[in-house]
């Protein structure tokens, strides 16, 4: 065929005879309906006349009905014959949108292949195929053709918008793979958008990063967020719909993604990487302008360093955390911070500082009427005093803690605080108890028996001057008691 189509010659029928003779020799004419019907008609007519009349009536009715049927256009017949997807593709192609067709075709093919690869047992087989869902196909057709028309005019912003709408639509229908595909397309289009200094590219990176994060590909997501951050660094006027500037958003996304990656490392046991990512997260959080985020990350870093036995750095972060909590008026956080700092000081051996912070914790907890926290705070403080030998205070605090847990009816804390309380009380009593046991005179023994009997605590009273001979048995019972309380102490 020549490049230019031949002249249109509707009347040009030269050499009809020659070709028709060839045609007759080779091409059988398709059997016409009328000839066979009429043959039937004639045959019957010769045999039975009555039957012929019925046949004629039937034929007549048939022709009348056929005439009544509407004329179907070619498009209508093809709609009847072909599947919905086929017709949709034909519509797109006939209008010249071949790229939309190619994209849609590739998507459907990809879905089918994924199904096959996954094997007959996978859940992919229960999902309805894209080609069987008319509404989605319609949306795809409408937006893809719009995008292609815009692309022809090189209006890449419109292309981006269409692809973005598609991605959003598929997010609502729950087709994550399609949403991801279109977000990536958006990003690709932004490369062609000129003159807006990369604002669209930044948006594109953000969306792709979010999509990747949802799929669990954290490192790629982090890359995209980093690009987003880099692009929006100095541009303060770029803001999203809710008024938050881009670079803040970028920083907060990065903080979040770094924390996720860090926790993965922690699970794997790679402590160095864990710490480095947490620190990165912290830097980002402080850049994001979101105090709460920064506070949380400071706390996490502090605790991590503490776990890693690096108390000095831990303290630095935890003090910053306290500052932020005060500015945020976050009392619970403040309490948590105090507790962590106290632990850190304790591990360093600075008990006094630890006690100071724990007292602050108790104060704050009481102020906010956070009973659980108060109970915990009191227990911690009690334990601290216990280890210091300040049993009086220990007992006081444990008493408080126990009462609160009883009031809360919190079974686990009840048992633990009860035990601790008992231990502290025993320790408190220990000194006077042993003194009595050593004395072993009549009043001492009476007191001991009193205590054994009904826990009457008379050990603090002044000891009358009397001697007793039966000291050995008492010694044994006293030593048993001492062992018992020692065990409890452990």
């Amino acid at each position: 065929m020549a490049a230019i189509l031949p002249a249109i010659n509707p009347m040009g029928e030269m050499n009809m005879t020659q070709s028709s003779s060839i045609k007759q020799r080779t091409m059988p004419s398709p059997p016409t309906q009328n000839s066979s019907a009429s043959k039937r008609f004639h045959i019957i007519h010769t045999h039975r006349k009555s039957q012929g009349k019925k046949e004629r009536e039937i034929e007549q009715r048939r022709t009348i009905l056929r005439a009544r049927q509407p004329e179907l256009t070619k498009i209508q017949t093809s709609e009847y014959r072909h599947s919905y997807k086929h017709n949709l593709c034909l519509d797109m192609l006939a209008e010249g949108y071949h790229k939309s067709f190619a994209e849609l075709f590739a998507l459907m093919r990809q879905q089918n292949e994924e199904r096959l690869i996954a094997g007959p047992e996978s859940i992919l087989w229960t999902k309805i195929l894209l080609e069987d869902e008319p509404e989605k196909l319609d949306v795809l057709k409408a937006l893809l053709t719009q995008a292609e028309a815009a692309e022809r005019l090189e209006n890449y912003t419109d292309v981006y918008l269409c692809q973005y709408k598609l991605a959003r639509y598929f997010q609502t229908t729950g087709d994550k793979w399609l949403a991801d595909h279109f977000f990536e397309n958006c990003l690709y289009t932004t490369a062609s958008v000129k003159g807006d200094e990369g604002r669209m590219a930044a948006e594109g990176h953000c969306n792709v990063g979010l999509a990747l994060e949802e799929s669990g590909q954290y490192f790629e997501a982090a890359e995209n967020f980093e690009l987003f951050h880099k692009l929006s660094q100095s541009k303060d006027d770029w803001a999203s719909d809710d008024g938050i500037p881009f670079h803040f958003k970028a920083a907060s996304h990065l903080a979040r993604i770094y924390t996720t990656i860090a926790s993965q490392f922690e699970a794997d046991g790679d402590l160095a990487a864990y710490l480095s990512y947490l620190e990165k997260a912290n830097d980002m959080a402080s850049a994001s302008g979101d105090c709460k985020l920064e506070a949380d990350s400071c706390y996490r870093v502090g605790v991590a360093y503490e776990k890693n036995q690096n108390s000095a750095t831990a303290l630095k972060f935890l003090t910053r955390y306290l500052e932020l909590c005060t500015s945020l008026d976050d009392n619970e956080g403040y309490g948590k911070g105090c507790e962590a700092i106290a632990k850190s000081y304790e591990s360093q051996g600075k008990i006094e500082e630890a006690i100071k912070y724990l007292e602050m914790f108790v104060e704050v907890a009481e102020r906010t009427k956070n009973d659980k926290a108060t109970s915990r705070a009191c227990s911690n403080l009690g334990a601290m005093f216990n280890s210091l030998g300040r049993y009086e205070q220990a007992v006081d605090y444990f008493n408080k803690s126990y009462n609160i847990s009883r009031a809360l009816n919190d079974t686990e804390t009840i048992s633990s605080s009860r035990v601790l309380f008992g231990v502290a009380a025993a320790h408190k009593m220990l000194h006077s108890f042993t003194k009595h046991v050593e004395l072993a005179n009549r009043s001492a023994m009476e007191r001991l028996i009193e205590w054994k009997d009904n826990r009457g605590d008379e050990f603090d009273k002044a000891i009358p001057e009397e001697a007793d001979e039966d000291t050995d048995s008492k010694d044994e019972s006293g030593s048993v008691k001492e062992e018992g309380s020692n065990n409890k102490e452990d």
């Binding site: 065929m1 029928e13 498009i75 034909l90 797109m92 010249g96 071949h98 790229k99 022809r152």
Partner: protein, 325 residues
């Protein structure tokens, strides 16, 4: 030929004869199939070269062979009918073309398991017919069907689908819809460019391994990956047509001109027509100067360097011969 034991010998002889007969029949069938294929390809090639008169006898012959092998109403006759139809369109005999194509369409309809490849060819020819009649909308619809079936069978970026895109581009061009036709022609160019690049790369990697200095660079590319005659003719027609159109509309997009000239250069290289290959290669280099893409121009320069050495070899050898005199 002993007569002593006639019964024994006759049975072996008849067995031999039977085996011979079967073998001969198989051979005959094989040769017939080859003939069908050959005549069809020749017919198709002649069509692409624009020699419609000559294509008719080739197509008729293929039809006769096919009827001998397959019978009168078989689906295997359809490709031959399609070539006849296309030749008729080329000669301007549209109603005749319509009859041939209707017959083909009827056969396809009656054969539900008909392959997508045959359907695609049928719709392509129907599209050409309607375009020749001036019914552009109907033609577009038929060509859309062609592209759809070709994509189902070969994929959206295959050279066999590219024919559909090309004809559709032509129709839009006639309707004065320049944007769409440009976009379609670009797609066609891309498809052929990719395919030809792949073929040329294979050839380059093969001949770089060749140590001996042979008189000619022989065709070492595998048969099934290279182009057959009809495809070669199609490529020549399609790519030249696009080049002509773009040369006139020219300078807006130098990268497109660069691409089409490069593709043409590669095509003529594959066809051993080195003069034309060099000519188009030069045009490509000129067009490249407008393009910023570094890789693109590098590819063309490398390609040209690859073509150049062989003629130089010839000139040296002829000089050597002359010295000996």
């Amino acid at each position: 030929m002993s007569v002593i034991n006639p019964s024994e010998n006759s049975s072996t002889i008849s067995q031999l004869r039977r085996e011979e007969r079967v073998h001969r029949e198989e051979q005959l069938k094989f040769r017939q199939l080859q003939m069908i294929e050959l005549t069809r390809t020749t017919g198709q090639k002649l069509l692409f070269e624009g020699k419609h008169e000559q294509a008719v006898p080739a197509a008729m012959q293929s039809l006769r062979f096919a009827i001998d092998v397959y019978g009168l109403a078989s689906i295997e006759l359809v490709p031959s009918y399609l070539i006849l139809g296309e030749a008729s369109i080329g000669l301007g005999r549209l109603s005749q073309a319509e009859e041939y194509l209707s017959q083909a369409q009827w056969t396809v309809l009656k054969t539900p398991e008909c392959s997508n490849a045959i359907k695609s060819k049928l719709y392509r020819n129907l599209g050409l017919l309607y375009a020749a009649k001036g019914e552009y909308n109907e033609s577009l619809r038929q060509l859309a069907d062609d592209i759809y079936h070709a994509s189902e069978e070969f994929g959206t970026d295959d050279i066999r689908t590219s024919g559909g895109y090309f004809h559709m581009g032509n129709v839009f061009f006639r309707q004065n819809n320049m944007d769409i036709s440009m976009s379609l022609y670009t797609q066609v160019t891309e498809i052929w460019y990719e395919h030809l690049s792949m073929l040329v790369e294979k050839k380059m990697s093969v001949s770089s391994r060749q140590e001996s200095i042979g008189p000619l660079v022989t065709e070492v590319v595998d048969e099934d990956e290279g182009l057959d005659e009809a495809q070669e003719a199609e490529a020549i027609q399609v790519l030249n047509a696009i080049f002509d159109i773009w040369e006139q509309q020219a300078s807006k997009k130098p990268e497109l001109i660069a691409k089409i000239t490069h593709a043409l250069a590669m095509l003529y290289f594959m066809l051993q027509d080195l003069n034309k290959a060099k000519e188009f290669g030069r045009k490509a280099v000129v067009a490249c100067e407008g393009v910023q893409d570094e890789d693109f121009s590098r590819n063309i320069v490398e390609f040209l360097k690859f073509i150049r050495p062989t003629p130089i070899l010839f000139t040296n050898m002829s000089a050597f011969d002359r010295k000996d005199d």
